[in-house]
C-alpha cells in the first residue's frame, strides 16, 4: 500500500433487487485528511459506507486498509472495528442513562470484571486530550447533543482507529456546536486519523474538508481537492447538470398575493406546546416561520394543524369561523401539514409507497369509502412521475427509499388531497441540493396556482428564496415580521438575534 494512504476501495459493486446502488466506485482516504463524501440522495453514499463497515456485503471490488496484508475481508461492523474503521452515525447510539465513561468503554473490555477507577481515569484523560467538555462520571443525558456526539466520537477513536466515518454528524447541532465538532475533527486529523465526512451542508464541507469525492446514481463522478472545486461546480457535479437557475427563482406572484384575501386567520391560537399567537396567510402567499431551534416555530405551525392539543384561540378559514382541534378537521378545512420529523411523524415505514401516498386522501374520503385499487395505483403512478420519486415500484415499502424520496412521498400524500393551504416544516432537511431546488420550485409554482404555503427551514437562504413574508420567532414569541426589502440575510439575522444587537 502506498505511503500515507490508509484506505482504498477499488471497483466496488453492490446491487439490491431492482437497484444498482454502486457501480465500479473507487475511494481513497489518506492519513490525516478530512474527506467529504458528497452526492444527492440515492447517490450511493450510505451504501458505500455500509459496504465499508460490513453492514452490507459487496458484490465485487476490493478494500484495502493500512496494516492489513492483502484485501480486507469485512463481514460485520465488528470486523470493521477490529481493523480500525469506526463509525459515528447521525442518530446518537449511546445509552443516555449511563455515565460518559461507561458509554466510552462499555462493550470494549475483554473480561467480565471492569476496573471502574481505571476506566474513569482513562476516559478523563481522553476527554481532556480531545478537549471535550464533559466529566467521566456525568450522566450522558445531561450533556448537550453536541457533547454527546463528541463522546460518541471519543468512543470511536479510542480504539486503534485509522478511519473515522462521520455520517451526518452535524444535522442536529447549532452553529456553535458545529464549530466545536470541527475543532475536534481538526484535532483528530492532526493525529493522523483519516476522516470520512458525510453531510448535506455545503458550507461545512468547505469549512473543514481537504478533499471531496462525489457520487452520482451509484457511480463515481470524481475526487477533487477542495480548493479546485468551487461550490457551484460541486453542486453541478452532484446533480449532473449546471445549476445556474438555483438562485433565480421567481417569487413575484407570491409577493403580489400578500395583500390579498386571507385564506386562514388565527387570533390568540395556542396549544400545549405553543404560546398564544396571531397569524394570517393570504391566498397564494408563501410565508415562513424562522428562528433558532426551540424558538417555537415548529410548535406554532403544529398548533395551526392541531398536531398538538389546541388550548385556545379563534380560527377563520375563508372568512368563516371554524373549529380545528383535531388533524382531521384541519385536513377537511383544506390544510395539509408535512411534519418536521419525517421518520417519527411522516412515514408509515412498513407500508408501501402507494399506501403512503393515498393515506391522507383516503382518510378524508372516510372510513367506509375506500378507493379502488385502480384509483390508488393511478394516483400513486401520477405522483411518482410528477415528483420523480425514485422507487423500484409502487409496492416497495417506503422505509427502503432514500430520505429525499421518502420526503417526496409525504409531499405527494398532501398534494393529492389538493389542499388550499400547505404547511411544510423543514421539507428539505437531510435532502440533497437537487431535490431541495425541486421542492422550492414546486412551492412557488403551487403558490402561483393559488395555494397558500407556510415554509419552515433552518437555512435562511432557502427561506429568503421562497417566502415573501417571514415571521421571526424568539423564545416562543413572534418578535418580528419581515417583508419586501427587509428580506435579506442581514436583517433576518438581526431580528432573530434581537434588538440589542441590531
Amino acid at each position: 500500500m502506498q505511503d500515507g494512504i490508509v484506505l482504498t476501495m477499488r471497483g466496488i459493486y453492490k446491487s439490491f433487487p431492482g437497484v444498482r446502488a454502486l457501480q465500479n466506485v473507487d475511494f481513497t482516504l489518506r492519513k490525516g485528511e478530512i474527506h467529504a463524501l458528497m452526492g444527492e440522495n440515492g447517490a450511493g453514499k450510505s451504501t458505500l459506507i455500509k459496504v465499508l463497515t460490513g453492514v452490507y456485503e459487496k458484490d465485487a471490488g476490493e478494500i484495502r486498509v493500512e496494516g492489513q496484508d492483502g484485501p480486507a475481508d469485512i463481514r460485520s461492523p465488528q470486523d470493521a472495528q477490529n481493523i480500525g474503521i469506526s463509525t459515528v452515525y447521525q442518530e446518537i447510539t449511546l445509552c443516555p442513562n449511563l455515565s460518559v465513561a461507561e458509554n466510552m468503554f462499555i462493550g470494549r473490555d475483554k473480561g467480565v470484571g471492569v476496573r471502574w477507577k481505571d476506566m474513569e481515569k482513562k476516559a478523563g484523560d481522553l476527554l481532556k486530550s480531545l478537549g471535550i467538555p464533559a466529566r467521566p462520571k456525568q450522566q450522558l443525558s445531561s450533556c448537550s447533543i453536541a457533547v454527546q456526539q463528541m463522546v460518541a466520537i471519543a468512543r470511536a477513536v479510542d480504539a486503534d482507529c485509522k478511519v473515522l466515518i462521520l455520517d451526518e454528524p452535524t444535522s442536529s447541532l447549532d452553529d456553535k456546536e458545529v464549530e466545536m465538532l470541527f475543532g475536534l475533527m481538526r484535532d483528530l486529523k492532526s493525529r493522523g486519523v483519516g476522516i470520512i465526512f458525510v453531510t448535506h451542508f455545503l458550507e461545512q464541507v468547505y469549512a473543514v474538508s481537504d478533499r471531496i469525492t462525489v457520487l452520482r446514481n451509484g457511480e463515481l463522478v470524481g475526487e477533487f481537492e477542495v480548493q479546485s472545486l468551487p461550490q457551484v461546480e460541486l453542486v453541478s457535479a452532484m446533480m449532473g447538470h449546471a445549476l445556474a437557475e438555483l438562485s433565480d427563482l421567481d417569487k413575484q406572484g407570491s409577493s403580489d398575493a400578500l395583500s390579498g384575501e386571507a385564506f386562514y386567520e388565527a387570533s390568540g391560537l395556542s396549544s400545549a406546546e405553543a404560546r398564544p399567537f396571531d397569524f394570517r396567510i393570504a391566498k397564494g402567499e408563501v410565508n415562513g416561520f424562522t428562528g433558532l431551534l426551540g424558538s417555537g416555530r415548529s410548535e406554532s405551525v403544529r398548533a395551526i394543524f392541531a398536531a398538538d392539543h389546541v388550548t385556545g384561540g379563534h380560527v377563520k378559514v375563508n372568512g368563516k369561523p371554524v373549529n380545528i382541534s383535531k388533524p382531521v378537521q384541519a385536513m377537511k378545512a383544506g390544510i395539509g401539514y408535512l411534519p418536521e420529523d419525517r421518520k417519527r411523524d411522516g412515514i408509515i415505514a412498513d407500508l408501501s409507497v402507494r399506501e403512503n401516498i393515498i393515506l391522507a386522501l383516503q382518510v378524508m374520503k372516510g372510513f367506509f369509502h375506500p378507493l379502488s385499487r385502480k384509483e390508488e395505483e393511478a394516483f400513486a403512478d401520477e405522483y411518482i412521475k410528477t415528483l420523480e420519486i425514485k422507487t423500484a415500484s409502487q409496492e416497495t415499502p417506503i422505509k427502503s427509499l432514500s430520505g429525499g424520496n421518502q420526503q417526496k412521498v409525504i409531499l405527494a400524500r398532501w398534494l393529492l388531497t389538493h389542499p388550499q393551504y400547505l404547511i411544510l416544516d423543514e421539507p428539505t432537511r437531510g435532502i440533497d441540493v437537487g431535490t431541495k431546488t425541486e421542492i422550492q420550485r414546486l412551492v412557488l409554482k403551487l403558490a402561483e396556482e393559488g395555494m397558500s404555503v407556510t415554509f419552515i427551514s433552518s437555512e435562511i437562504e432557502e427561506m429568503l428564496r421562497t417566502c415573501s413574508r417571514l415571521i421571526v420567532m424568539r423564545d416562543r414569541k413572534i418578535v418580528g415580521e419581515l417583508t419586501g426589502d427587509q428580506l435579506n440575510q442581514d436583517t433576518v439575522m438581526k431580528t432573530i438575534a434581537g434588538g440589542e444587537q441590531a
Binding site: D345, F367, P370
Partner: protein, 357 residues
C-alpha cells in the same frame, strides 16, 4: 382491503405456513395413506354425516380459526394480544345458556336472541379490554390479564351452577350437523365469519387504518386517523369473533363448563397468528395466514393423537414442531432463505447468458 397487495407477496408471506401444512399432509399420507379418506356414515341421531380425520380437523379448528381472525386484528392494531379470549368465551357460553333457560323452550327465535345477547355481552367485555388498551394505554397483556383471571368466575356467577346442560335438536344442529347436510355446521360458521370480515374489509378502510396505527401511531394521527378508535374497533371485532366461537363451543358440547370451555384457546390463537407469518409487534397482517395457522395447530394435534401418542405427551411433541415452524418463519431464517434464493436465481441467469454467448 384493497385487493391483492405486493405482486407475488401473497405466496412469499404465506410460504412458511403453506410449507408447514404441506409437510404435515405429506407426513400423514406416508404414514397412513388412508389418513385423509372421507366416508359417509350415519351418526347416532340418524343423520348422514361425513367423517374422517380431515373433516374432524377442519371441524375442531373452527373456534380457534374464528378467534384467531379477531386476534390478528388486535395484534396488528395494538402490537399486543388479548389473553382473556378463553375466559370471555366462557362468559359467552354462560350468557347463551342463561338466555335459553330463561326463555323456556329452545326455538330458533330464542337461539337468535341468545346469540345476539352473547354478542352484546362479549363485545362489552372485550371493549373493556379495548378501553384499557386504547384509551388508558395499558400494555395489552396486562390489561387483558384482568379478565383472564376473573372471567371464568364471572361465567360461574352467571350460570350459578357448575355445568348447565342444553338439550335440543337446534343446539345439536348448530354444534354438530344440520339434518340433511353432511358437513359439520361449525365449518360453515368459519366461512360465514370469514366472508363477513372480508366484506367489512372491502367496504371500509379498516386494513389500511389498522396497519397504519400498528406501524406508526403518531403519524397516523397526523393523517387524520383516530388511533384510539381503531384499537377499540379491533377489540370489538374480536368480541364478535369470541361470541361466535363461544356459542359454537357451547352447542358442540351441549353444556357450559365455566372451567373448561375454550380453555387455553388464547395461547393457540396467538400461536396461530404467529405461525401465519404475522408480526406480533403489530402492523402489516394477513388474516389468511392466521386461519392457516389455526388449521396447522389442529392438524398437528389430530396427527399426534392418530399416532397414538399418549395425551400427556401430546403437548411436548406439539411444542417441538411449533419451535421448528416458528424458527423457520423468523426474520433471520427468512433473510437467509431469500438471499439464498436470489443467489440461486442469479447463478441460473448467469449460466443462461453464458450459454447464449
Amino acid at each position: 382491503m384493497t385487493g391483492k397487495r405486493r405482486k407475488g407477496g401473497v405466496l412469499s408471506d404465506l410460504m412458511i405456513p403453506l410449507i408447514a401444512i404441506g409437510i404435515l399432509i405429506l407426513f400423514n399420507l406416508i404414514r397412513d395413506p388412508g389418513f385423509f379418506s372421507i366416508s359417509l356414515s350415519t351418526n347416532n341421531s340418524g343423520n348422514a354425516v361425513l367423517t374422517g380425520n380431515l373433516i374432524s380437523i377442519i371441524d375442531s379448528a373452527s373456534e380457534l380459526a374464528i378467534i384467531a381472525m379477531g386476534m390478528t386484528l388486535v395484534t396488528a392494531a395494538t402490537g399486543g394480544q388479548d389473553i382473556s379470549v378463553g375466559a370471555v368465551g366462557a362468559i359467552t357460553g354462560s350468557v347463551f345458556v342463561q338466555v335459553l333457560k330463561g326463555s323456556g323452550d329452545i326455538t330458533a327465535g330464542t337461539v337468535v336472541l341468545g346469540f345476539l345477547a352473547c354478542c352484546l355481552v362479549t363485545v362489552l367485555f372485550t371493549s373493556f379490554n379495548g378501553v384499557l388498551v386504547a384509551f388508558f394505554r395499558i400494555q395489552p397483556m396486562i390489561a387483558t390479564l384482568i379478565l383472564f383471571s376473573c372471567g371464568r368466575s364471572i361465567a360461574y356467577w352467571i350460570t350459578g351452577s357448575a355445568t348447565p346442560q342444553l338439550e335440543s335438536p337446534i343446539i345439536k344442529a348448530m354444534g354438530m350437523t344440520i339434518p340433511g347436510i353432511p358437513v359439520p355446521t361449525p365449518i360453515f360458521m368459519v366461512i360465514l365469519v370469514g366472508l363477513l370480515l372480508l366484506l367489512f374489509f372491502k367496504t371500509s378502510n379498516i386494513r389500511l387504518y389498522t396497519e397504519s396505527v400498528g406501524i406508526n401511531q403518531g403519524a397516523s394521527r397526523l393523517n387524520g386517523i383516530n388511533p384510539t378508535l381503531i384499537k377499540l374497533l379491533s377489540f370489538i371485532v374480536l368480541g364478535v369473533c369470541v361470541a361466535v366461537a363461544g356459542v359454537i363451543s357451547t352447542c358442540r358440547l351441549g353444556q357450559v363448563s365455566h372451567k373448561t370451555l375454550l380453555i387455553d384457546i388464547e395461547m393457540d390463537a396467538i400461536l396461530a397468528v404467529a405461525i401465519g407469518g404475522n408480526s406480533l409487534g403489530g402492523g402489516r397482517f394477513r388474516l389468511s395466514g392466521s386461519i392457516l395457522g389455526a388449521y396447522i395447530i389442529q392438524m398437528l394435534t389430530t396427527t399426534l393423537y392418530a399416532m397414538s401418542v399418549a395425551p400427556a405427551n401430546v403437548k411436548a411433541y406439539k411444542a417441538i414442531v411449533i419451535i421448528l415452524i416458528v424458527v423457520a418463519g423468523s426474520p433471520v431464517i427468512k433473510t437467509a432463505l431469500s438471499s439464498f434464493w436470489h443467489r440461486l436465481k442469479n447463478n441460473r441467469a448467469g449460466a443462461v447468458s453464458r450459454e447464449v454467448n
